[in-house]
């Protein structure tokens, strides 16, 4: 650009002055947003399909393509998925599973987060002999395929006498949530200044007081991350939900699987999609609402040199 102005051959060449002129639609910008648009289509397509299909009637589904918006919007599939779809003799749709999921998720999330955060805190600030060893094993634990643990857990729960109960499931979720959550909390707590902890000890605060009054209030981002991870993880869990529960307390995912797989006559795609959406609604809403905090928390807790 500078050269242009130097070459005074150009009739109305102006001296470069002020802000460098930028074209709004430069080639690279078009590329950039173009790629982003294509990528977004890839990510949004399934959601679009689900929503559109769930709003169509069966005849329209048979006729039209899955990407077309409904000609005639009907909420019947949603109603059916929520409260009428049958598995065997139970024709109350997902509604039952929803409350079960809530009952399972809420205590599991709370307990697993409390346990893991206290663990992370103890690991960072109250190291004792062997604590690193346990931590390392715990991290290994997070990579063990669940199937390996399935049978031992069945035995464990049987011996504890809580197989098939809500308590059993909470325990299982707490156990399997522990590795990754502890890692998150440990990384986060170790990024907090150690001096704060020391100051509190000089001030005569004990283990729990430091935890509740100093650590917890400063850890909102990581609690949000843990909350999101656990809510979605537990809400979406299928394997434990089906193996460690019984029909009365089946979570929504199991109910979803039942509905989708209980084909009675033709597959009712619209109902299935509505059911799928309903099942994913809670985690989706949570992501849409707190995605920003999640990203920030990830940066604070997960990605550490």
């Amino acid at each position: 650009m500078a050269d242009v102005s130097m070459a005074s051959a150009q009739p109305h060449s102006v001296q470069p002055r002020g802000a460098k002129p930028r074209r709004r639609f430069s080639g690279s910008n078009i590329m950039l947003y173009g790629v982003l648009f294509v990528v977004s289509v890839y990510y949004l397509l399934p959601l679009w399909v689900m929503v559109m299909t769930s709003l169509k009637g069966m005849p329209e589904i048979r006729m039209g393509n899955i990407f077309a918006p409904p000609v005639e919007i009907t909420f019947q599939p949603w109603v059916k998925a929520w409260s009428e779809a049958c598995t065997g003799l139970n024709c109350d749709g997902l509604s039952r599973g929803f409350w079960n999921s809530v009952l399972i998720t809420v205590p599991s999330v709370i307990i697993s987060i409390i346990v893991a955060s206290v663990n992370g805190y103890a690991l960072v600030n109250w190291r004792f002999k062997g604590s690193e060893v346990f931590f390392t094993i715990l991290i290994f634990g997070s990579f063990i395929p669940y199937q390996i643990m399935l049978y031992p857990i069945v035995i464990l729960l049987r011996e504890l006498g809580i197989y098939g109960t809500l308590y059993g499931l909470i325990l299982v979720h707490t156990i399997f949530g522990m590795p990754i959550l502890t890692l998150l909390f440990r990384n986060y707590f170790s990024s907090l200044p150690e001096e704060l902890f020391k100051a509190a000890r000089v001030d005569g605060a004990g283990f729990w007081r430091i935890y509740f009054q100093i650590m917890v209030p400063m850890s909102l981002p990581i609690f949000v991350v843990a909350l999101i991870l656990q809510i979605t993880g537990i809400w979406n869990d299928f394997l434990f939900g089906v193996v460690f529960t019984k029909p009365e307390i089946y979570p929504m995912t199991v109910q979803l699987n039942n509905i989708v797989n209980s084909v009675q006559g033709v597959k009712e795609y619209n109902v299935n999609m509505a059911a799928t959406l309903l099942t994913g609604l809670v985690p989706l809403v949570i992501y849409f609402v707190s995605g920003k905090l999640f990203v920030r928390g990830i940066a604070a807790g997960a990605v550490k040199g």
Partner: protein
């Protein structure tokens, strides 16, 4: 004198926040300019504008007689050294030095020649195959300078290159940079908020505040004749002592509480009578003595003395609770509470108008 850098009416805003306001600076070929100022005053911003790393809002920048306002950083003939050095961590020192050259498709032997020369100047020959992580702070700094050096640039820009180092290393590297400058004779623009660095390195210092240059002058000039209250207070450690009073007797004396000080010998403009004025006295321009001399001394009470090795700093309280500091040789110990008199060297004092804050 050829101009190396000319900044004309430069302004820069981030959105609605105006950070640099209508700046004009001319830097001569081979000059060492230090930008000094408190944190957030816009020093780094100005440097980044010179380097082309920030798009300015208004004005022009000329380097070596070329208008580079819109030029890319790499086309401006500048080299930059950052506070954190910003070495490429996974490349060896040689890789760091050659990366830019290779990218410009310079022939291999020319690259080698340049690296050899830089290594020789900076004495980093034995380090060429190490990675930055294996270097000490001072060595890293040299490599960072080397990266500018190999590019054979006319202008070096430094952004607080020493502020990450400990005091000892800092003073050593300061001297090295000065030597480098006297050897290369490049134009250098150097940002710091450390006044010792500014005073020792600069040919001229630009004291900045809130995006405006307060004074641009040689170090001794700035130290001895600060153009306003801000510069006077900012330069010098401990700070200049400020006595709030009035000039009286048609500008021939300064009245401070019950004390009156003769202004005969003051080097400055017409003092005049000002109902509100400030007399600035540097700690080393006061002499502690036991006896008063009317018109020449200020009575004070010793509070604390701080021996600092070579000399000692005495803190006193003058009339009206005013805290003052005086520099004395370290051998001289003064008991707290003793009453003394401070003799003023009026030739080295500064008087400021309270309203305009300008030196008179």
């Amino acid at each position: 004198m050829t101009h190396s850098i000319q900044v004309k009416d430069l302004s820069l805003s981030f959105g609605s926040v105006s950070v640099l306001k209508n700046m004009n600076i001319d830097v001569a070929e081979g000059e060492f300019i230090v930008l000094l100022g408190p944190s957030g005053c816009g020093k780094s911003t100005l440097l980044n504008c010179l380097a082309g790393l920030l798009d300015i809002t208004d004005g022009e920048i000329w380097i070596k007689g070329k208008n580079v306002t819109w030029a890319e950083p790499s086309e401006r003939g500048i080299g930059m050294v950052f506070q954190s050095y910003a070495l490429y961590p996974q490349m060896t020192v040689r890789g760091n030095l050659s990366f830019g050259l290779k990218n410009a498709r310079m022939p291999k032997d020319e690259i080698d020649k340049r690296i050899a020369r830089a290594a020789e100047i900076l004495q980093i020959g034995p380090l060429l195959d190490r990675k930055p992580a294996a270097l000490s702070g001072g060595q890293r700094q040299r490599v960072a300078i080397g990266r500018a050096l190999v590019r054979d640039v006319d202008v070096f820009l430094f952004d607080e290159p020493l502020s990450n180092l400990d005091a000892k290393l800092r003073s050593e590297l300061r001297v090295e940079i000065k030597r480098l400058h006297s050897r290369l004779n490049n134009t250098m623009v150097y940002v710091t908020h450390d006044q010792i660095e500014a005073l020792t390195l600069a040919d001229r210092i630009a004291v900045m505040r809130g995006g405006i240059i307060q004074q641009l002058a040689a170090p001794q000039e700035i130290y001895n004749r600060p153009s306003n209250l801000f510069v006077a207070g900012f330069i010098g450690s401990p700070s200049m002592n400020f006595l709030h009073g009035a000039t009286v007797e048609a500008g021939r004396a300064f009245q401070f509480g019950a004390t009156r000080i003769d202004l005969a010998g003051y080097e400055g403009g017409a003092v005049l009578d000002r109902p509100k004025a400030i007399l600035g006295l540097r700690p080393e321009h006061l002499i502690i003595q036991d006896k008063p001399e009317p018109g020449l001394t200020i009575p004070a009470v010793v509070e604390i003395d701080e021996p600092m090795g070579a000399d000692s700093l005495v803190w006193l309280e003058a009339e009206g609770g005013l805290k003052m500091s005086v520099r004395v040789p370290v051998e001289r110990r003064l008991a707290a509470g003793s009453k003394v008199h401070l003799k003023v060297d009026i030739a080295k004092a500064s008087i400021f108008d309270t309203a305009s804050e300008q030196r008179v």
